[in-house]
Symmetry: C2
Subunit: 336 residues, 2 copies
């Protein structure tokens, strides 16, 4: 079963419409990113560019720009906030890859394997600081508050995940708390900061924050599902990585809860003690598919995507709104 | 030769007067620190408290408070900035110890050896974010600008040091650039932010920044000297650490430059290739003392301490000013 088939019922979404609408603004964002990661210390732009130039969909800065423009922003404050958001995201990726010992990121060798873990940690710190310098330039204390808070919530989520990493008894509620903090919070803050920079009414600010949060949850759940159904080439990382690291993601947790006492020893060995053989990933995958755990994860992602779209109803019909709706559909229908 | 004897000519300074004057304010700062490192994720306060409660002299928050009070600050905005400064400092220490693989910090086992490198990296990120949340609460965009800039300069300095770590040909100018960035910048920003929070005139803001910068340079130079003359118990880390890590500090660089071609093979092996025997530290120490490299380092530190004191002349005589002058003397006369 592949994910695209599993969600056949959902409307096909795409990120293309948003990318096209935001293209002129994203030229400005990319310019700021290039400018602000410059440094007299050559390893800093080299390491940062390795990751940033590898692409990625730039979803978070796109959200900032889209939220601001949909809400009628005329000035370019949202561009600096969008660049800041991408810097924060890049900093967390650099630190995550060191923390997780990841081999690949965006289809390329992870930066810490080229420049060392020390450089990755320090360049992450540099990008984080530069993000705050960009925010200061906008003069928006409220955007600073939103993104500073998001940054501490992300770190809390990461630490929580780390301490519960191999916990077979992690419940769904705590799992959702973790991904809300480590992933969805930055989506939420990116959209919220864009709304604030446009001078939105409070109701609209809340709606755009809700859109980002629900979108982020949908994306993370589908990412977790793709680890058990995707192919390495399109995913940009190795399928099965979460399993091999013993990461307690929802498809795994649901399968453990549903697969009964006969499989308990298998899960305890493979995830609890990380004592795995070559055949274990295939067996885990079969259980995750056979117990309906994969489908349940995708259904939940679908619910969040619908909630994201619903929060946009506050805004009048527009190309921007349609593109954000399509992005929410894309979160759950994107191919492995 | 110990450092205290080497600088016998300098006036004996102390940190006591400043600590006593700032005591009521520091109760508030410590309260904020305790409050703001709280988290529902228990490992975060546990790890952070391990380091923060181990003491240290709290020099940077003391500078923020002293700068503000000397300049006549009546409100308590400086307390939040002081707590923010301590959080930034703690974050950099956590990351440094991971990057350097240090064993000890403030006389205790380094946090990453207890909780792991991953937690140290992420708790550092958390503290950094919380620092910005505290700054946002003060409403001072200028203080935010100063400390965001300082944070990116620190990271740049750390990366520069990393890339030049075993470089025997590092010149004095570049070495001073590195310590200005990685150490003195936060001293400068701490004092500057305090001045700004007091609504100082520009001339006074600049003078307090200069005080912090020169003080930070003096402290770092003496730290580097102590690594070749201090005792582990009072230093809070292992004497000889810099040598064993092959860190190109000024005493070493000057000794290399002065010890001539006969010793070149020794330096190349012990520092360039980090191929060391037990006896090497003793030999390096003898060369550093014998060539006058240690004394030259301490003399330079003395010059910076004098420059720090000179920049305070702008302010009328007061207990605060006297305590900051005494701190500058302490920087160069403190015992190993």
């Amino acid at each position: 079963m592949d994910v695209a088939k599993a969600v056949d019922a959902a409307p096909k979404g795409s990120v293309e419409a948003l990318v096209a609408l935001a293209a002129p603004d994203m030229v400005g964002v990319d310019g700021l990113i290039g400018d602000r990661l410059d440094s007299p210390v050559p390893v800093i732009p080299a390491l940062a560019q390795h990751l940033i130039a590898a692409g990625g969909k730039r979803l978070r800065p796109l959200l900032t720009v889209a939220a601001a423009r949909m809400a009628g922003a005329k000035d370019d404050a949202c561009l600096k906030l969008a660049a800041a958001v991408e810097f924060i995201h890049t900093a967390t990726l650099l630190h995550d890859d060191v923390v997780d010992g990841s081999q690949l990121r965006r289809g390329k060798v992870a930066a810490h394997l080229i420049w060392g873990g020390a450089s990755s940690v320090l360049v992450g710190d540099f990008l984080f600081a530069r993000a705050f310098e960009l925010m200061v330039e906008t003069g928006s204390m409220r955007a600073l508050a939103i993104l500073a808070k998001a940054s501490s919530v992300i770190a809390e989520g990461e630490v929580l995940q780390l301490t519960r990493a191999h916990d077979l008894n992690l419940d769904q509620h705590t799992y959702l708390e973790i991904i809300a903090a480590k992933t969805a919070e930055l989506f939420a803050a990116s959209a919220e900061a864009g709304a604030v920079s446009a001078g939105c009414a409070e109701e609209q600010v809340s709606a755009l924050r809700a859109y980002g949060l629900n979108l982020g949850l949908a994306f993370q759940l589908v990412d977790d599902a793709l680890d058990y159904s995707g192919a390495a080439e399109t995913l940009g990382k190795n399928a099965g990585d979460d399993f091999r690291e013993g990461k307690a993601t929802l498809p795994l947790l649901l399968a453990i809860a549903r697969s009964g006492p006969r499989e308990a020893a298998f899960w305890e060995r493979a995830i609890g003690r990380l004592d795995q053989t070559e055949a274990d990933f295939r067996r885990a995958r079969e259980l995750i598919l056979g117990t309906g755990a994969l489908q349940a994860t995708l259904d939940l992602a679908g619910d969040y995507a619908e909630a994201a779209k619903a929060s946009l109803r506050l805004f009048p019909d527009s190309e921007w709104r349609a593109s954000l709706e399509s992005l929410a559909d894309f979160a759950v229908t994107r191919p492995a």
